[in-house]
Amino acid sequence: MNAFIATRYLLTHMRQTLICIAGVVISVMMFITMLSMMQGFTDKFIIETVESSGHITIHDEPRETRSKILERVVNTPDAVLSLEGNKPRDQVKKIKNPTGLLATILRMPGVVDAAPVVNGDATITYGTKTYPLQIIGCEPRRQTAVTTIGEKIVDGSFDRLKTSANGIVIGRGVALTLGVQLDDSITLTSSTGGVLFAKIVGIFDTGVTPVDYGRGYMMLSSAQTLLDRKNIINEIVIRTDDYNQAELIASRIEAICGYKTEGWKEANANFLKIFAVQTVITYIITGALMIVAAFGVLNILIMAVLERVNDIAILKSFGYSRGDITHIYLFQGFVIAVFGSIAGLISAKLAVEGLRRLPIKMEGLVRAEGLLMSEHLSSYVMACAMVTVIVLIASVYPARRAAKFDPVEVIRGAH
């Protein structure tokens, strides 16, 4: 019965109703579209970074968890400790017994494959141009098993590393910067003074700028020679069957081997923090839009209440209680929220698909040929739930105000 009256009010004041619904539609559409845009960017970065760098990386150093020598001897928290002339031992950093460790890791549940790696810094020179590069020495078969780098080759082949002496696969960004092409010869100079003449056997394009502009892949043995790290493995890259379990598996591996073992989340913690902040900002902006829409509903419902004080009085005179009057106005808010949400979802879907097709070139942290839109069911559900709750909250005040009208005062003409 209350729904009948509420629906009639909405239908007979269609313009006001549509204005309210339009506000809700816009806020829902903006919420989903902006979240989709942000999520698309984040997903692209994470997926490409994780897939091209591996889910887990074992480093050649222990995690800094042990306390310092002086702190172990003097454990007074207020003491000022100073050690003069302290000099760390000159030792070669490496993963000891990498073959045995690899065998152990491969037996662990959840691990798909693992690849030994040596890496270090070098400078690539082509003609008069030089460019800094992180050299990753790897076994091509295992590297392509733990990362998707083999699939990202746009020119040449990753497998040519095995057949070409001193071959190197570089990123698209490096190639563009230096102006090199496939089969061009370049010179690599390591930070330890090693020099190697190499041939470009492949160019990859992951779409992630730091990867495309910063890495070069070589055969493990060639890289060890260049970096002066004969027979040394300083990283092991691991692929898991579920990258969401990477942190858990990493902690197990670290407990076994003692080396610092990072899952992809820890390795990209800084980026993930930035994304989290961006997501919060998106929520704040789109949430504010929803609140603005709710204020529109609040405003229009208050006007509707003030216009209908006579109706409220007469409804009360023939038996409608305060609760009934409250329900009539809350129901109007609910209908606006529901129809606004449904229309908002449809509009959002259309907007997402439209934006996805826009030929806007992106060249930043992530490179893409169009806007990266990522849809998640949770965004749609969240938008509907949030807007419904906010609009219902906005409807409470006019509903309660309507319920409070004293019918006698209205009939006497006080309102």
Partner: protein, 296 residues
């Protein structure tokens, strides 16, 4: 209590229009007022007054500006009575009407904080409305009272028939279709069948008031309370409304109306005159309504 309601005096008058509509109510769960409210300790059943008010005080406003509108009114309205309340503006007649119908509540404390003793009491069909909560009192209004106001107060977004059907739909004894059928029957009784589907705001003043009377009759109320029902009508329409009231009164419907119109007031079999918040005179005239109206 349901039995009392069924025995209500307007049964005869409503027989033709309600028989078909309310005969189907047995299938529905009838929502009735809770009998938990205290019951008037005097009479019961047919002999019990339909409305009884004792020591009713009402202040309007607050603090120093509060006006003492009703100063301890005692009144009893019996079944089938046809009552007019007259008095000068500000004498408290409309305030009393709203209180009798449960649309307003008596004042419990004077503006200086003293508890009114004995407390004001208003009984509708034996139930103490001063002890009822908002929802219970609303249900009492829905089931027992039919209000008619000076300014028609129809819901303009609804048709004439829908306006009449709304109290029935609220009561919940009839399905929507049955309620609409009964609403059209009531409108037909007042010559408005052809206007049943017309929006309320597209009816003339006289038509609107007749729709309002039909709405007041929708739930076969124990009593119709009317506040200046002809006050906003021209002579012709006022006469029509007066005739409707006479007809209803003759049929046994309990009617109480407030009016400034001496001619309308004289049609009632009982005339109550209010002065300065108290009943100054209460005169019951012998003879039938038709005899009185003929004499007029």
């Amino acid at each position: 209590m349901d039995e009392d309601f069924a025995d209500c005096a307007n049964k005869k008058r409503m027989a033709e229009v309600s028989a078909s509509a309310f005969s189907s109510t047995s299938a529905h769960s009838a929502k009735s007022l809770s009998t938990s409210s205290s019951v008037a300790p005097c009479l019961s059943g047919e002999n019990r007054p339909i409305i009884e008010a004792r020591n009713v005080h009402r202040y309007l406003g607050e603090g120093d500006t509060a006006a003492h509108i009703l100063k301890g009114v005692d009144i009893s309205i019996g079944r089938r009575e046809y009552v007019s309340i007259v008095g000068q503006s500000g004498s408290g007649k409309s305030t009393l009407l709203y209180l009798l119908g449960g649309l307003d509540r008596p004042t419990k404390k004077t503006p200086d904080g003293q508890v009114i003793d004995p407390a004001s009491k208003i009984y509708i069909d034996g139930l103490d409305t001063t002890q009822m909560g908002d929802a219970e009192l609303a249900m009492a209004r829905n089931e027992k009272i039919g209000f008619v106001f000076q300014f028609h107060y129809l819901l303009k977004e609804f048709s004439a028939a829908e306006n009449v059907a709304l109290p029935m739909l609220k009561l919940g004894r009839l399905r929507k279709k049955d309620a609409m059928d009964r609403a059209v029957s009531l409108l037909k009784q007042f010559g408005l069948e052809s206007k049943a589907t017309r929006r309320a705001n597209r009816l003339s003043g006289g038509e609107q008031q007749r729709v309002a009377i039909a709405r007041a009759l929708a739930n076969e109320p124990a009593v119709i309370l009317a506040d200046e029902p002809t006050g906003n009508l021209d002579k012709k329409n006022a006469d029509k409304v007066a005739e409707i009231f006479d007809s209803l009164g003759s049929g046994g419907q309990t009617i109480v109306y407030v009016t400034h119109d001496r001619e309308l007031a004289a049609r009632a079999t009982r005339q109550i005159r209010m002065e300065d918040g108290l009943i100054a005179s209460d005169v019951t005239r012998a003879g039938s309504i038709s005899a009185i109206t003929k004499a007029l």
